[in-house]
Symmetry: C2
Subunit: 323 residues, 2 copies
């Protein structure tokens, strides 16, 4: 089982409408709701790959109820031909903790003609000290049964900035590999707690290290404490700086589409490869193929299974000499 | 008791954010939810004026649950000093019918600096023939106990375009005065069913009659079947063409602010004056003072009670000679 942690879950709502024009009125033609937050997205992709997953974090209020209902139903928008589905595939197990605050909504307003997206993100609920304590005891019960743990996304208000560092120390004490995918100060503190993996994008790396050179920034991040750094570089693929070597992995051609969730799919690729004990180049091929197939999918945050299978043998992985 | 009908209720959500820029990501700093749809707004203002009200129409799904919960709690955003509240004032009685579809949301994105608003309106739920039949029998039970009926807003999908005409005929058969506030074809059909009052705005009048001259259009609307036409002309106030005479009523000065709900406040002013058997000039003063106090309120759709009381004696009502 792979455990994913999403402290700031969200109900992701997608609206389709004609071109968004500020200060006018718009008729929404299509509404799609799905459980969101990075850890939930990672778990969904892991499930599609056949892995057992457990999702934990917080859910509260009416929006939290809707999120859990959709999570239980496995209800994500999917083409009617079932091409993305797989009969009998495992479903993420819901180990979210109830909180008194209300789970946030995010609204993606997609211009029908161009696919351009305007994002509106509600603030997360404030988590109380008692709720955080309850979470820690739940986390400590779940971690020993996990093959790997992924800590994903932003921290909601009320949770201290060193929260991820604390969760990393507890996973490491239990001997379970832990991946961190966050940004800003929680990433900085988390890296210092020596996680097995971090997956920053180019902006997050630059903010952490002050360098916009991904290679230099990845090495610096390793020096700060991360054992392996998987830097997602958008259409350029992935740069991986690990104890075993340095690799770049890139798709055969840059993909055009909606990048929402591409980073989460990459995390799922890396984690599945880790627990399957695949060598680094195979993990990276999978991560890049999954994230590219997510960009290509007509449904935001889903990956196109056919595109994934076609892409997998075509990812270019190159090893770099040690610096 | 005054009955208001809202076939297409909505959960009105207001987001505050920095200036909306298409195709970028926005952090929402404040989220306010309130029960919406024109008839619910009218009932809320009538309650504030001390009138007993019953609201009917449809509510469904999780969003319908939230709407009914807020309606029951009387939960509308209000300044902390309680200036807009009145202890022990009546609250709208919930006689909404459950439906299998989900009540729509509307999202008003308010730019914090300027107050400019971008509106996103979800489509309403489709109402089945059986649900419409159930509504008619509920309506027929409520109407005989009402001093007046207000039919407000758009029709959700599935409801035939002559629905308001049908509700008008039933109210008239029961001898209960009926006001219609809608637009387009439902207004055209409704007018032909001879309602006691219609309250179009300038655009709705023009669409109905083909004339942008409010006086000419109001007379034409009376010829088409409406007994009295209360045309709301924005900052210019109201033009009333009635069997008893023709009046204009205007605020002392044009108000600057958010016009959301101003028309609904005018409907509440007219209806309260009707059931209190006030003369037309007094009804019109009340309608203009309420709608102006709604524009001036810092909370969209609420009226500023202090502004209302100050404005009431200052509304200019002028009678026009018959044409």
């Amino acid at each position: 089982m792979i455990l994913t942690v999403t402290l700031n879950t969200a109900l992701d709502i997608t609206y389709r409408t004609a071109a968004l024009i500020p200060h006018t009125t718009h008729r929404v033609t299509e509404v799609v709701e799905r459980p969101g937050g990075k850890g939930l997205n990672v778990a969904r992709v892991l499930s599609a790959l056949g892995h057992e997953t457990v999702v934990t974090g917080f859910a509260g209020g009416r929006t939290g109820d809707v999120l859990r209902e959709l999570l239980g139903a496995g209800a994500t928008a999917r083409p009617a031909d079932g091409r993305h589905g797989r009969r009998g595939r495992p479903r993420p197990v819901d180990a979210l903790l109830p909180i008194s605050g209300s789970t946030r909504r995010t609204i993606a307003v997609v211009d029908t003609a161009t696919g351009d997206t305007t994002q509106l993100n509600e603030p997360g609920p404030t988590v109380s000290a008692a709720e955080w304590t309850a979470f820690l005891s739940c986390y400590d019960r779940l971690v020993p049964g996990a093959e790997a743990v992924a800590l994903c996304g932003s921290l909601p208000p009320g949770i201290h900035v060193g929260a991820y560092a604390e969760l990393i120390r507890r996973a490491r004490a239990a001997g379970v590999p832990v991946l961190l995918d966050t940004s800003g100060e929680p990433l900085r503190r988390g890296v210092a707690a020596r996680p097995d993996l971090v997956k920053p994008n180019a902006d997050e790396l630059a903010l952490l290290t002050g360098s916009r050179d991904p290679l230099r920034a990845a090495h610096d991040t390793r020096r700060r404490g991360a054992h392996a750094v998987i830097a997602s570089l958008g259409p350029d693929g992935i740069l991986a700086a690990t104890p075993d070597g340095l690799w770049r992995a890139a798709p055969p051609a840059p993909a055009r589409g909606n990048p929402t969730g591409a980073g989460d799919s990459a995390v799922a690729g890396i984690l599945s490869g880790l627990v399957e004990r695949l060598p680094w180049p195979t993990r990276l091929s999978r991560a890049v193929a999954l994230s590219t197939a997510t960009v290509l999918s007509p449904v935001a945050g889903e990956f196109d299974a056919t595109a994934y299978e076609e892409l997998l043998p075509r990812i270019r992985v190159t090893e770099h000499p040690a610096p």
